[in-house]
Symmetry: C2
Subunit: 106 residues, 2 copies
């Protein structure tokens, strides 16, 4: 899960594509316009995004329409928030301990 999500978002070009799709579904041409790389490279990036479940491809005749699935983004966000919360709580515990020590002295 988060593994693939973070891996998929590790490349700036793939984040560009996600940012474009966040504004709404788009054709492959629209979602990858002016990225300045070859078609095979674009296909490889799209494949990684699709395999991670971040991008969904619908085929209507000759048009390939891409849209975002935000569920993996939410999952990744939750993981990040959890680490920050643990870190913050650890400081609270240290603060409480120090305050306790301080009270013991007086």
């Amino acid at each position: 899960m988060a593994n693939d999500t973070f891996r998929a978002l590790a490349h700036p070009m793939r984040r560009d594509i996600v940012e474009r799709l966040a504004d709404g579904p788009a054709t492959v041409g629209e979602a990858t316009r002016n990225l300045g790389v070859s078609k095979p490279t674009l296909s490889r990036h799209l494949k990684i995004l699709e395999e991670a479940g971040l991008v969904v491809r619908e085929i209507e005749g000759r048009t390939h329409r891409l849209s975002l699935d935000v569920d993996p983004l939410e999952e990744a966000q939750t993981w990040l928030a959890r680490q920050r919360a643990h870190w913050a709580r650890m400081f609270d515990v240290v603060d409480d301990y120090l305050a306790e020590q301080e009270r013991g002295k007086t």
Copy 2:
């Protein structure tokens, strides 16, 4: 920035280390205990986390103490939240448009 953060978090072993450090600073030995890989592999993973600014190493004599820097986590979280917000807003715009169309009919 987010590039390195997402790349650093793309490997499950590096996420394990971040999770351990989220509970508090630890020595290299504590932070990497029982991960079942060789020391050079662990060093390489730690290097990637340090280069991304997620992990900070303090050297006290022979002890290397690692702690987390949560700022890059926050940055990555903000980026994810922004994409989800754009995606949600896009649906609101579509809903408003459809409601407008509906009103036009009556």
